[in-house]
Each structure stands twice: as structure tokens, then as C-alpha cells.
């Protein structure tokens, strides 16, 4: 029995506590009711204030209505203003339409320009590429130039060496020049000596010419007079002379005639060397024609035919060649066969030395080859050299007159032309003279 008593004590303590708590709750409610009362008194005061404020707000509203009427009137005016503004806006819109078309056109133009610019751009791009290529090439060229510069420097260095060499050579040349000056003086001295000799030769030549002239004139004059006197005697004193006397005078006349011929021929022979040797291009045909004219009496007398075939021109001493042709043709006429008309054939042509097979002729030179062939009495072939010697004759003067100088003159003239002459003959079959001399 203890546990129960304890429970009842506890229940009483709890109920007491409960009662204390309720009392406290009551007291709280009384406090809260007093506060709520006070609140209600405050709210009543507030409602009076709100009613006063509403009266004031009403007055305010009435004023605002008036203001609204005024605003409506103002809006009417503003509306009219807007209508006007609408019209203006339409006008502006029409204008804008036109302006738009204009803008479209401008846009098209701009597009065209843009297209053109596109092309130009492509072009520029291409040019840029080209420039880049050029730049690359220039780069290469630059390298090349750099290389060349280096080479030039090397050359310059070499030139400096070459220059030094030249300077050395110049010095050597100056030495040589000095030596040449000495040699020149020596030559000048020798030249003077030569000129002296030449002057002496000119004088000697003049003397020789004078001698020739004197011979031709003075030797012939007495001779001619002997002949003339003989003919006067034979003509005028004929009847006073015995036959023997006449015969002796005739022999005298022949002797004088031969002497005259001899002087003439000797003069021709010496003249070949004393006269000036002037070579000139001459047509051989002209010379042959001149000689034929000179010999026309003999040609007629002998009934001779002179055949001239294929003539050329040659560089010759004309007057000497005339003499040569004269001697050869007159020889051919003189040594013609009795009772057979003389036939003389003269040819000339230019021939290459290599085709002539003669050791005395140069194979590289061109030669003028002249042939004079006749059908006369000819000669034994072993005389072919001797007939060119001075005073050498094959016949007695009683049969064929002559001094033995004619062919010697011919040979001398050929030699003056640096040529050779070859005689070929056969007794009673004619003679041929071949002349070769350089044609230029």
C-alpha cells in the first residue's frame, strides 16, 4: 500500500498545478480583452478620420470630372491634327515609293558595280599571284646577281693580276720601242744610202737612154747617107758605070742596108730594158690587129691568112707585147714555104698552172697561154733553144735576111713578163711558139 498513496499525492500536485495554469490563462485573457477594447476605441477614431478624408476626396473627384471634359475637347482638336498628319504620311509614302524605285535602280547599279568589282577583285588576285611569282623570280634573280657579283669580284681580282702583267709588258714594249728607234735610225741611214744609189741609177739610166738615142740617130745618119749617095750614083750615073762597078755599088747598098737593120734591131733589144715597165690590162686582140696593119704589105705579098682565135685580155707591157707579136708574126711570114700561102694561127687563153705540166710554172697561178703557129719551113727540133739566142741564125743572110735578134727580143720580153717561151718545130712542117706568163 505505499505506491497508491504516492499516486494520489501526485494526482493532487498535478491538479493543483493545473489550477494555477488556468488562473494564469484567465488573467491573460482579461489582459487581451482590455487591449482589444482599446483597439476598438482607436478604430472608431480612425473611421471618423476616414469619413472626413472621403468628403475631401469627393470634392477632388468633381474637379477631376471638369478636367476630363476639358481633356475631351483637347482630344477632338488633337484628332483633327492626326487626320492631317495621316494625309501627310500618305504623301510621304508615295514619295517614299518613288524614292524606293530609285533606290532599287541604285541597288541594281550597285550590284553591277559589285559584280564588276568581283571581276576586278579576281583580276587583282591574279595580279597578286603574278606579283608573288615575280617576287619569287626576283628572289632567284637576286641570288643570281649575288653570285655574279661574287664572280665579278673574282674577275676584278684576276684583272688586277692581268693589269700588273700588262704594266710589265708595257715596260718591255718600251724597251723594244727604244731598240726599234735605234734600228729605225739604222734603216733610215740605209734608206738614204739606197736613195743615193737609186738617184745614181736614174742618172745612169738617163745616160743610157741618151746613148740609145744618140746611137739610133747618129749611127744611122751616116749610114743612111751612104745609101742615099749610092742610089743617086746608081740612078744618075748609071750609063757611066761598068757592070762590075754597078754590081759593087749594089753590094755596098745591101751591106749598108743590113747594117741599118742591125742598128734598128740592137736598139729595139736595148730599149726592152731601158724603158719603163708599165703593166696594164690589155686586149691582145687590139695588139694583134695593130701588128697586122703594120705588116699588111707583107701579108698581101705572101697571101697570108692570119687566124685569130679565142683571145683574152692580160696584164702586159703593151708596147713590148706589140714588138713581141710583130717579131713572131713577121718571122712566121718570113719563114713561110715558097708557093704555099702562109697560114698563121694565134690563140690566147687563161689556164691554171696545174694543168700545164711544166716544172717552171707554179701550179697555183693562172697563166696566159699564147700560141703562134705557122705552116712555114719550121726548124730541126734540136735548134729549139738556140733560135732565142742573140745573133743566132739558122739560114744564110742571102736566103733569109735578118740579124738574129728578133727572137732574142721576143724571149727577153717574155722574161720581162715573168713568163717562159717554148718553140717546137719540124723541118718543112711549120713552127709553134707557146708563151706562158702570169695573167695578173
Amino acid at each position: 500500500m505505499d505506491i497508491r498513496k504516492e499516486s494520489d499525492e501526485e494526482d493532487l500536485i498535478s491538479a493543483n498545478k493545473q489550477l494555477v495554469l488556468q488562473k494564469k490563462e484567465n488573467e491573460k485573457l482579461i489582459a487581451e480583452l482590455s487591449i482589444a477594447n482599446k483597439e476598438l476605441a482607436f478604430q472608431k477614431e480612425e473611421k471618423g478620420k476616414r469619413a472626413a478624408e472621403l468628403g475631401i476626396a469627393n470634392i477632388e473627384l468633381a474637379f477631376q470630372d471638369d478636367e476630363k471634359g476639358k481633356r475631351a475637347a483637347e482630344l477632338g482638336i488633337a484628332n483633327k491634327e492626326l487626320v492631317f498628319q495621316d494625309e501627310e504620311k500618305e504623301k510621304r509614302a508615295a514619295e517614299l515609293g518613288i524614292a524606293n524605285i530609285e533606290l532599287l535602280f541604285q541597288n541594281e547599279e550597285k550590284e553591277k558595280r559589285a559584280a564588276e568589282l568581283g571581276i576586278a577583285n579576281i583580276e587583282l588576285v591574279f595580279q597578286n599571284e603574278e606579283k608573288e611569282k615575280r617576287a619569287v623570280e626576283l628572289g632567284i634573280a637576286n641570288k643570281e646577281l649575288v653570285f655574279q657579283n661574287e664572280e665579278k669580284e673574282k674577275r676584278a681580282a684576276e684583272l688586277i693580276i692581268a693589269n700588273k702583267e700588262l704594266v710589265f709588258q708595257n715596260e718591255e714594249k718600251e724597251k723594244r720601242a727604244a731598240e726599234l728607234i735605234i734600228a729605225n735610225k739604222e734603216l733610215a741611214f740605209q734608206n738614204e744610202e739606197k736613195e743615193k744609189r737609186a738617184a745614181e741609177l736614174i742618172i745612169a739610166n738617163k745616160e743610157l737612154l741618151a746613148f740609145t738615142y744618140v746611137s739610133s740617130h747618129d749611127l744611122q745618119e751616116p749610114l743612111r747617107k751612104i745609101q742615099t749617095f749610092v742610089t743617086i750614083i746608081l740612078e744618075n750615073e748609071n750609063k757611066n758605070l761598068s757592070e762590075n762597078g754597078k754590081y759593087n755599088f749594089q753590094r755596098m747598098q745591101l751591106a749598108a742596108g743590113r747594117m741599118q737593120q742591125l742598128i734598128d734591131d740592137l736598139l729595139s733589144f736595148s730599149r726592152i730594158n731601158t724603158t719603163e715597165l708599165k703593166f696594164e690590162k690589155t686586149d691582145l686582140n687590139i695588139i694583134i690587129e695593130e701588128v697586122k696593119t703594120e705588116l699588111k704589105d707583107t701579108i698581101q705579098e705572101k697571101h697570108a691568112i692570119i687566124e685569130v682565135a679565142e683571145q683574152c685580155s692580160a696584164n702586159i707591157i703593151a708596147f713590148q707585147f706589140r714588138q713581141l707579136m710583130y717579131n713572131l708574126i713577121s718571122n712566121a711570114l718570113k719563114f713561110s714555104q715558097p708557093n704555099i700561102p702562109s697560114h698563121i694561127v694565134i690563140k690566147s687563153r687563161i689556164v691554171k698552172g696545174s694543168k700545164l705540166n711544166n716544172s717552171k710554172l707554179s701550179p697555183d697561178k693562172n697563166y696566159c697561154h699564147i700560141t703562134v703557129a705557122d705552116n712555114g719551113i719550121g726548124f730541126e727540133s734540136h735548134f729549139s733553144e738556140r733560135i732565142f739566142e742573140v745573133f743566132q741564125k739558122l739560114h744564110s743572110k742571102e736566103v733569109y735576111s735578118g740579124t738574129g735578134i728578133g727572137l732574142a727580143i721576143v724571149k727577153k720580153i717574155v722574161e720581162n713578163h715573168n713568163g717562159i717561151i717554148i718553140a717546137t718545130g719540124e723541118l718543112n712542117k711549120g713552127a709553134t711558139f707557146d708563151i706562158y706568163f702570169p695573167s695578173n
Partner: protein
């Protein structure tokens, strides 16, 4: 043949040639009169002397003392008064260069003195005939040297 009278002047220093010339003229029996001078100076004096009648023809030798035939020919051809005078050069020798020079200097003819007297006469006759016919213009070069024409 009618032959007008000719005054002939011969310039030659050689006595023999003068004799031949006179004899030839004598034998030819031509109406001529001959005057002879014996060197170049005498010749020029004779020709320039106003009192002398000018000859119709002059035979001129080349080799003469004091003044030779070339000099005389040049003087004659340079003189206004004398240049019409036909000059026939009469020489012993024949040289082509001499002949060419004489032709250039205006001689009328060149004759080489023939050694045969008959030829001597003929050539004088030929030349006198040519001058007597009034033919005193200089011939062509080919006909300058006068030779004896046969026949």
C-alpha cells in the same frame, strides 16, 4: 697636075740632107722655092722676122744645134701667128714615143728620111702634094707617119 707655087722652109743642120732635099726638089720639077736654115735659133728668127714672108710648109729636122726641133715645134704651135704653119718633121730615126709626142705637139706629119734617093723624092712629092691641096688639118694618128706610097 696643077700645083700652086709653094714657099718651102727647110730647117736642117746637115749639109748632105740639104743637098738631097735641093736635088730632090730640082728633079721633081715642082713650082717651089726653098729656103734653108741650119739650126733652131735661125729658124725661129726667120719665122718671127716681120720682113720675111711666111712659108707654106716647114720641113723640120729634130737634131739641130742650139735649139732642137721639139723646142721649135712647141714655140711655133704656141704662137698665134705661126700655129697654122704645117710642120713636117723629117728625121733619121724612128721612135714611137718621139712620134707620139710630136703628134701631141701638133706636127702635121712625121717622115723618116728614106735611105734610097728615089724614095726620098717620092715622100717629098707626097707631102708637098698634100699641103698644096690645102690639106693642113692634123690627120688621124694612124695617118700621121707618112710612108712612101707605091705606084
Amino acid at each position: 697636075m696643077s700645083f700652086k707655087h709653094l714657099n718651102i722652109l727647110l730647117a736642117d743642120d746637115d749639109t748632105d740632107d740639104c743637098i738631097f732635099f735641093k736635088q730632090a726638089l730640082h728633079e721633081l720639077i715642082l713650082p717651089t722655092s726653098l729656103t734653108a736654115v741650119h739650126d733652131g735659133e735661125q729658124l725661129m728668127q726667120f719665122l718671127t722676122d716681120e720682113t720675111n714672108e711666111l712659108p707654106h710648109i716647114l720641113f723640120l729636122d729634130l737634131n739641130m744645134p742650139r735649139k732642137n726641133g721639139f723646142e721649135c715645134l712647141s714655140e711655133i704651135k704656141l704662137s698665134e701667128k705661126l700655129k697654122q704653119l704645117p710642120v713636117i718633121v723629117f728625121s733619121t730615126s724612128f721612135e714611137q714615143e718621139v712620134v707620139n709626142m710630136l703628134y701631141q705637139n701638133g706636127a702635121q706629119y712625121f717622115i723618116r728620111k728614106p735611105s734610097e734617093f728615089s724614095q726620098f723624092k717620092k715622100i717629098i712629092q707626097q707631102s708637098l702634094t698634100l699641103v698644096a691641096q690645102g690639106d693642113i688639118s692634123q690627120p688621124t694618128k694612124e695617118n700621121f707617119v707618112l710612108t712612101v706610097q707605091n705606084g
